[in-house]
Symmetry: C2
Subunit: 271 residues, 2 copies
């Protein structure tokens, strides 16, 4: 981690993230304490963000909060993300069929981002909510995605994992994870064996846009009070076929657009 910023926009985003991560109304001085920016600079950044309605200022309590404009923008991002809209009916079906929690996730900057979810009829709540992020190395959806990524991208993603031990079963290092990813690639499904949250297990399948391209993953999550890892296999067949259906639906959805067919582009991030 050297300098992910550089431009003014980057600095503004750093501050925005900072406020978002506080998870509660935050004072200017609190931000200042946590920030590398000098007082005057931070002040103007916060002011700019507030003007843009990316932050909200509560002048009763003199605190800042992430602004609602973000919710508005996110709707556009969500609606246009190929997966979310396409997958919705399939998630409904899965949730309805089994009554368990269903999650749809994509990888975003090395982390699992939950794009959509369906609640279990049993109303216990996993942490996951739309828009939330979780580590990739210790979630079912995360491992399902990692397993089917192109080796180069996967390595990049693996280097972003923190390998914090949330529970006794959490992977503590890349080695054991890599081994499991091989197994996942062979079997086609990934399990979360209480690796992130004690008492929560899941089975996840990757969503492929084609043989080599993973878009995201679906999972069925439940609690150890109702299922064991073994009994999750009851869901496997339907889960896999649903993931496959979502994949092809996404492929079709993407098709209308190209205008210039075929391209010989070989990887390469921009800048």
């Amino acid at each position: 981690m050297s300098e992910p910023d550089g431009g003014t926009v980057g600095k503004a985003m750093t501050v925005l993230d900072q406020v978002a991560n506080f998870g509660r109304p935050v004072r200017f001085s609190e931000l200042l304490k946590d920030s590398d920016f000098p007082k005057a600079t931070l002040f103007r950044l916060v002011q700019t963000l507030t003007q843009q309605r990316l932050l909200t200022y509560d002048n009763q309590a003199q605190t800042y909060l992430p602004g609602l404009r973000l919710v508005q923008l996110a709707h556009a991002a969500w609606a246009q993300s190929s997966l979310a809209t396409v997958a919705a009916p399939y998630l409904d079906e899965l949730a309805h069929k089994f009554g368990e929690a269903v999650h749809l996730a994509q990888l975003e900057n090395g982390q699992v981002l939950f794009i959509d979810k369906r609640q279990s009829v049993y109303r216990f709540d996993t942490l996951a909510q739309t828009g939330q992020v979780a580590p990739a190395y210790c979630t079912g959806v995360g491992k399902a995605i990692l397993a089917f990524m192109a080796p180069m991208e996967r390595d990049h993603a693996l280097r972003q994992q923190a390998f914090v031990g949330y529970t006794p079963t959490t992977h503590g290092a890349p080695d054991s994870l890599l081994q499991e990813l091989d197994a996942i690639r062979a079997s086609g499904v990934a399990y979360d064996r209480e690796e992130h949250e004690r008492g929560i297990i899941s089975i996840a399948a990757p969503i492929m846009s084609d043989d080599t391209n993973v878009l995201g993953a679906v999972s069925i999550a439940t609690s150890t009070s109702r299922h064991t890892i073994e009994s999750l296999d009851r869901f496997e067949a339907v889960l896999r076929s649903t993931a496959a259906q979502i994949g092809s639906a996404a492929r079709v959805w993407r098709a209308p657009m190209p205008a210039n067919p075929s391209y010989g582009n070989s990887g390469g991030e921009n800048s």
Copy 2:
């Protein structure tokens, strides 16, 4: 409104909005055609946004889309917006009790922003989804909020209304709307008489944090095939009491935070 921008961040946000409003993958040249920015400037703005993952670049199709980082940020905004989290159980209750669609909205920059919703059991879909925006002057929630705003703020908001005629019953000018707002203030509830969408009607109640401060509004929306404006009154009592409950819940929720009791702050916008 001449130039809401000025800073670099403002310009970047303009571009981000532009991409979001396209509602589909968009090429650089399309953005350029629609933009006041010179080519090189726009190019660098788009590049910056992409680096920040506020935009996603599909180098297959050479198109830009709003980035998933927005979804992540929006979750923070949503979870911390006093209303959304506080109101959730009440929305559940309303939806369960009547089986009709329930909407929770706030005013954001003169527009109605849907913060949360519950689906009707009848599965007809109104336009509203979380994160979507709608005009204030022709929706139940919008009018409920406008009616209870402080006069100065209301005037400001009214000047932001476009008064487009979506249907025959849409208000075409401020005059008739103002009259209705008086009536709403007197009665405590607002109706949408197919003003935004033909066939969709709703009854809405404001959510007040105290006698003079409106936070948002809740509504029950249905279709003309199941209800008339008159039969919506069946919901009025429960809707009003729910709105009141959400209001006091929000008040309590805000209380825990201060740390330094009492404050003699008298208004004053910043900047």
